[in-house]
């Protein structure tokens, strides 16, 4: 099966969905399910659209790295769609297009094609976030997203002007091999960094997040907070791995930005009293950690970190947003005792949180420890300190959140979760626990990822 089908099939049904309005939600459900299934049958490797050589045509690459990304994005997407698809029927074609865009982002190995898919995913995200009925936030998101992608385009054009190539891996090899003065490519890389930084929610480019995730509903919260965040983190990781070459000054700037993102993100989450804000600021910090891990070159565990965070955050956003939709407030005091009547949901939520915090017996612990050990051995103790400090603050507010959700005698809010949500939460929580104890799967993913360092040049 060709990997292009992962993009083409959702697109095709999105276009059809406009004509066959009634069928559109079913298309959405079926196609997103098809995509998840299809991942089991596609073979790894690279293809070039139109059958040209990879130097000239647009290349799509599927290796274990992008496969993990695809699994995460498609599975999460399917789950969210399964919960939401009949609530937002009109959005079905847009959701399908966003799925195609996200898959394209993960697969493409072409700088300009990446820009196109960024815009597809971006525009569909703007439209999906209009369901929160807050056009001002969406507008802010649109303006920043457009500025970001404009800078990305500027960066890629400068790179094209310099080297005449758009294929990411080839370009990366050329820059690695040919350029002696790395400072010469610092400017385009900074432009690209900014462009992706806007989407990946890095400080200080991320003011759109507050309006979007701070006012999210059960669709936009998980979609933007978990799916888009993971997809863009994967893309960022891809570029950092295959394309970016840091000059000293660029690395300094990037490190400062990332460290600021991590620490200030945690501080902001700590300062918040609204549950959705706590989640969004903490996901800013986590995005910072993921990008930092990639920028420092720990690709394999970084990949697993993003994947794991994606699943954990799905639970967090889903549980919180459904509660907020029903309670009509996202103040922590209003949601106090949320889990008293929803113990199963609470258990899943707690597992996800503890995993994000990196506490044992959950998978987050294994990933975090491996990253920290790798950092300490490089040795980069400064960043170890930053991550530990961030984890400390993160732990404090998340534990406060959990304690508040679990313990309340007087008036616990009554929130109803559908069976699908409970089921999904529990399954993900169970997997997080299993992978935290039974280490073989994670280790084998880690070693497979280590093997794909080589560049896939010809499909």
């Amino acid at each position: 099966m060709s990997i292009v089908l992962l993009i083409a099939v959702p697109l095709f049904f999105a276009f059809l969905g406009i004509i066959l309005k009634k069928a559109a939600p079913y298309f959405l459900l079926l196609v997103s399910f098809f995509n998840v299934l299809a991942l089991g049958f596609i073979s790894q490797g690279a293809i070039v659209i139109g059958g040209y050589s990879s130097f000239y045509g647009i290349q799509l690459v599927l290796n274990s790295y992008s496969l993990i990304g695809l699994y995460v994005v498609n599975t999460l997407f399917f789950v969210i769609v399964a919960i939401n698809c009949f609530k937002h029927k009109k959005l079905s074609p847009i959701l399908l297009i966003s799925l195609a865009g996200l898959n394209g982002l993960l697969l493409t190995n072409d700088l300009f094609n990446l820009f196109v898919f960024m815009e597809i995913a971006g525009i569909s995200a703007y439209l999906i976030t209009t369901t929160t009925k807050d056009p001002k936030s969406t507008f802010n998101y649109l303006v920043l997203g457009t500025i970001g992608s404009s800078f990305y385009l500027l960066g890629l054009i400068i790179l094209y002007a310099m080297f005449g190539v758009l294929n990411i891996r080839i370009l990366g090899n050329i820059i690695e091999g040919v350029v002696t003065n790395k400072a010469a490519v610092a400017l385009p890389f900074l432009f690209i960094f900014i462009g992706l930084g806007v989407e990946t929610k890095l400080l200080p480019f991320n003011s759109w997040v507050k309006g979007i995730l701070g006012k999210s509903n059960a669709l936009t919260g998980p979609l933007v907070g978990a799916v888009y965040a993971s997809a863009f983190a994967f893309v960022f990781g891809n570029l950092l791995r295959y394309l970016f070459v840091f000059s000293e000054s660029l690395l300094l700037i990037v490190s400062i930005l990332l460290v600021a993102t991590i620490l200030i993100g945690e501080a902001m989450a700590y300062a918040s009293t609204k549950v959705r804000e706590i989640l969004l600021f903490s996901s800013i910090a986590q995005a910072g950690v993921a990008v930092l891990v990639f920028a420092l070159g720990y690709y394999t565990w970084g990949t697993i970190l993003i994947a794991l965070n994606g699943f954990s955050k799905l639970i967090l956003y889903l549980v919180v947003n459904i509660a907020v939709d029903q309670v009509k407030s996202d103040e922590l005091s209003a949601l106090k005792g949320l889990f008293v009547n929803n113990k199963l949901i609470g258990a899943g939520f707690s597992v996800a949180t503890l995993s994000i915090l990196g506490l044992p017996i959950f998978a987050g612990f294994i990933v975090k420890m491996n990253i920290l050990v790798a950092m300490a051995n490089t040795p980069k103790f400064f960043f170890v300190g930053v991550i530990l400090l961030a984890s400390l603050i993160e732990g404090i507010y998340f534990i406060k959140l959990l304690i508040n959700f679990w313990f309340e005698q007087d008036q616990a809010p009554r929130v109803k979760y559908s069976y699908v949500v409970i089921y999904v939460t529990l399954v993900i929580a169970l997997l997080i626990t299993v992978f935290g104890v039974y280490l073989e799967p994670l280790n084998s993913i880690h070693s497979t990822l280590n093997l794909v360092k080589g560049v896939v040049m010809h499909g």
């Binding site: 802010n140 500025i147 003011s207 506490l359 984890s391």
Partner: protein
């Protein structure tokens, strides 16, 4: 079960079973915790003390065990505390919101304990360390105040991260996670850093100054059995880490010839002294009996730090003995208070009185426990404090000695206050009819602990002999003991003799007591004040605000650590709020500005 691995798996699985059973019938689930912790304790004690524990691992791939005297020492002690406390679980389970989860977390913590003490790998140690942190974390909010567990988590994780940094630093320098070889191989400045980081972890866990803030809160506000677990068991994790840092890691840094001591160790001794003083001073002014004991726990942690930082055989064996003595005594004391609290629903001294009449056994248990905690013969606390004094005086540390003596005298002042307030004095009307002695099952651990308090005070030889084998393992000169005596540099201690003298004294006092005229029992209303009869049954308590004059001396100075930590938390919050206000507006120009600024900074560096 002689195999550590099987023991660990058994505990974990029975935790799950206890949870499932507890779902159906909470009490049965909590009874399971008694059985399981009993089996764990018995196996560790029987096989461990005979050095027959199997360390082979076949089912858990990333874990490896080692059997050292130190591990057995701590493992037996802490699992014993868990076992003793578990007798209380069935009687408290009804008070908890999440009954089944309690049993699960209880056993999960126990499993973590086994892992921490018996592993030979630092990463595994950290794994179990964090496991214990979060499993015990959720036990706390089942009690009075939920927010306390956040403070506990903050300090605990701060400690764990210090430990993790030490581990990572050690590993990056030496290339191994092995505890013994790693600690030996690390050298120079790195060793100093590892040392400091390990001690930060130890201080955070032990609740020593300046990382003590969480301890009194947690010990006061968690459910009564959990308090005992913390005071007698989990706090001792800090002591374990302190032993690793202070004893196993070869010391480094500036050596002070005059004191025959490293500067770092001297600083630690001073910090330990501050902990002692702080705990004592704070304990004096408490009204809540649990809080009072909590601060006393903190000051006893200070003793352990002081003792271990001495580095001499008297110091270290004193410290280790103090770990045992304090674990037994404080568990007993907290259990006694817990028993009172279960019957009366309060631990405030101003609201209680005369419990002696209804709960005589609890009273005796408490009495013996506090005698030990105050370091009065013939209880275990006396032996350890004697050894610590020996060590301190030998080193000639005047300030530290002053602090330890102050702590001892201070504990005379405070531990008898709850005794007088809770158990002695007038019987309060509201408790006259309803209160009974605690159930027999709750009395079992209390009595056992009391007996142990006495045994450790009268006949310490066996334990000290074991500590001597432990000292061999740690490369430290053994303590000079004979069957009945302990030989110190300033004299020889004969605990049994002292005990006999004491018993004699008590006997004589008893003779005098019964031979003299019986005093008349006075009812609460059978008195008058200011020439008026009393018509309402008011509590006239002499132990409330008893030390007010002393308190007034230091009242203004006690809150500075609390203020410091709250200011720290506020600073973080302020930074967050500030950035939130300035960056997270819904105005696109802010982000545009920052994007331009970042580009300008890079170009500036490029062009200039």
């Amino acid at each position: 079960m002689a195999s550590l691995e099987l023991l660990l798996i058994f505990t974990l699985i029975s935790g799950v079973i206890a949870y499932l059973v507890g779902k159906v019938h909470p009490k049965t689930g909590s009874i399971l915790t008694i059985i399981v912790s009993g089996i764990v304790f018995a196996s560790l004690a029987y096989f461990g003390l005979n050095e027959q524990l199997l360390t082979k691992v076949s089912y858990l791939p990333y874990i490896s065990f080692i059997q050292t005297p130190l591990a057995i020492f701590f493992g037996v002690l802490v699992s014993f505390v868990f076992f003793m406390v578990s007798f209380f679980n069935p009687y408290f389970i009804d008070k908890y919101t999440y009954k089944a989860v309690y049993s699960l977390l209880y056993l999960l913590s126990l499993a973590g304990i086994i892992g921490i003490f018996f592993t030979d790998n630092f990463m595994t140690l950290f794994f179990f360390f964090e496991l214990v942190v979060w499993s015990s974390l959720f036990l706390i909010p089942l009690g009075r105040d939920e927010e306390v567990s956040v403070w506990y988590f903050g300090f605990s994780v701060f400690g764990s991260f210090a430990l993790l940094s030490a581990i990572l630093l050690m590993q990056s320098v030496t290339g191994t996670f092995d505890i013994t070889t790693g600690l030996q191989a690390v050298s120079g400045f790195n060793r100093l850093s590892v040392f400091i980081l390990l001690l930060i972890a130890a201080f955070a866990k032990l609740g020593a100054f300046p990382l003590h803030y969480w301890l009194p809160k947690v010990l006061t506000d968690s459910p009564d059995p959990v308090t005992s677990i913390f005071s007698g068991g989990l706090e001792k994790l800090g002591a374990f880490i302190a032993v690793l840092g202070l004893v196993k890691l070869v010391p480094t840094g500036f050596f002070i010839d005059v004191m025959d001591m490293y500067l770092t160790h001297y600083i630690l001794a001073i910090l330990g002294s501050l902990t002692i003083i702080g705990g004592t001073v704070m304990a004096i002014r408490q009204d809540d009996a649990k809080k009072l004991l909590a601060y006393s726990s903190m000051s006893n942690g200070g003793y352990i730090i002081v003792a271990l930082s001495l580095g001499s055989s008297a110091g270290i064996s004193g410290g280790l003995y103090h770990i045992i003595a304090h674990a037994i005594a404080s568990t007993a004391a907290f259990l006694a208070i817990g028993a009172v609290a279960r019957q009366t629903n309060t631990t405030k001294m101003s609201e209680l009185g005369g419990m002696l009449h209804k709960m005589p056994i609890t009273y005796m248990v408490y009495l013996i426990a506090i005698i030990s905690m105050a370091g009065i013969p013939p209880m275990g606390g006396f032996i350890s404090k004697w050894l610590i004094f020996q060590g301190v005086i030998n080193k000639g540390l005047i300030l530290v000695a002053a602090a330890t003596f102050f702590g001892s005298i201070g504990s005379f002042l405070y531990v008898f206050r709850p005794l007088a307030a809770l158990f002695l004095g007038q019987e309060l009307p509201q408790f006259k009819e309803t209160i009974k002695e605690a159930p027999i099952v709750m009395l079992i651990p209390m009595v056992i602990l009391s007996l142990l308090n006495i045994v450790t005070g009268v006949y310490p030889t066996n334990i000290l002999a074991y500590i001597n084998t432990l000292l061999v393992d740690l490369n430290i000169v053994q303590l000079d003991i004979t069957r009945w005596t302990i030989v110190g540099t300033n004299g020889t201690l004969n605990p049994a003799l002292i005990a006999v003298m004491f018993a004699l004294g008590v006997f004589i006092a008893f003779i005098i007591f019964i031979s003299l005229k019986k005093s008349r029992k006075v009812e609460l209303m059978d008195t008058y004040t200011a020439a008026n009869f009393i018509y309402t049954e008011e509590l006239l308590h002499y132990s409330v605000d008893f030390y007010a004059p002393i308190e007034r001396l230091y009242e203004p100075y006690i809150h500075f650590m609390k203020k410091f930590y709250q200011a720290l938390a506020n600073k973080v919050r302020e930074v967050g709020a500030l950035v939130k206000y300035y960056i997270f507006t819904s105005k696109p120009e802010v982000a545009t500005f920052f994007i331009m600024l970042v580009i300008a900074i890079l170009l500036w560096g490029d062009l200039v």
